[in-house]
Amino acid sequence: MILDLHSHSDASEDSRAPVETYLKWLTRKRDVLPIDGIVLTEHRQWNPTADYRRLEDQYGVLILRGAEVETDYGHMLIYGVTDDMTRRFDFANVRLPAQEVVTGVQQLGGIAVPCHPGRPTIGLCEHYDTKPPLDGVVAVEALNGGSRRGENERVQALIDRHGYQAVGGSDSHLVSFIGICATEFDAAIRTIDDLVAALYRGGYRPVDFRDRLKKVA
């Protein structure tokens, strides 16, 4: 099962991509982008009332939701967001304490995955150069579709040193970027709880569809 674990719809202030248009694009590109589902990880927010079940049924694409928060160790994807989590952490705060986020999110049934770790300023690698490593990190986003040259490459050393597992995501803010990078899971994922459990358990790897897209362009 292949999921794009990192995407932004027009609910994020820097994206212009409606969720339905993502699904239309994935439907049109199904032969080169075999994406079974996407996770919407809007910036610094969580909308408890958002409901995409009608779109899921219409397009046959799983839609899960998380969030991308900003911490003193860079950005992190949060999966398994709960009301308790949003009460404990102000997702709009761009200086959330990373260690508290990793530990607290796990205690509350979710998982925090540092994203684009090789990116300057907002990636884990740079912070590990000057600060102690975080306890409790299980996986990092080793493949990010929005990374510049060298940023994804920087992550392998981090993974080798700390034994993290690796996920991939498009970090799409534009319709045509959805699904270009994703994560292949050995297990079936049907719910956000399935996703959180799988991320802790293992049995997944990043997948990159950019070359395949270039060949058919």
Partner: protein, 134 residues
């Protein structure tokens, strides 16, 4: 940078400007300059609404948000079209102030919302002007 501001400023009106009736000549000049055709005789091109700016661009009492700033784009929600003879009113508020972090560090954003209505009270446009500061 850390944005420090009084959140009570959000939603407060800082400008209200009533414009003179829109003339056919204004619309003609705008269409010629922008290259955007009029959708119908006596109807202005949609982006004509951007020409209707209030007297005050920023609130007078807003805290300094950074050393430098620039125009980070606009979102426009279009309502009824502007027609010759319309009398428009622009009401501007501070819609949002927030901070985010990126490759180059932290940035502050100020969203100024201008709501344009015509003489019938119909909404002509809602324009969100985004300014970035650092």
């Amino acid at each position: 940078m850390t944005l420090e501001f009084d959140r009570s400023i959000l939603g407060t009106e800082f400008d209200r400007t009533a414009f003179a009736p829109i003339s056919a000549e204004e619309i003609r000049v705008y269409a010629a300059a922008s290259g955007e055709p009029c959708p119908a005789p006596d109807v202005a091109p949609p982006t004509f609404v951007l020409r209707q700016r209030g007297d005050r661009f920023m609130p007078a009492n807003i805290a300094k948000l950074g050393r430098v700033g620039f125009d980070a784009g606009k979102d426009i929600d279009f309502g009824v079209p502007v027609r010759v003879g319309d009398v428009l009113t622009a009401v501007s508020t501070v819609h949002d102030i927030y901070e985010k972090t990126g490759r180059s560090g932290s940035m502050g954003f100020l969203i100024l919302r201008t709501e344009l209505t015509n003489q019938h009270g119909e909404q002509v446009a809602v324009i969100d002007q985004k300014m970035m500061f650092r």
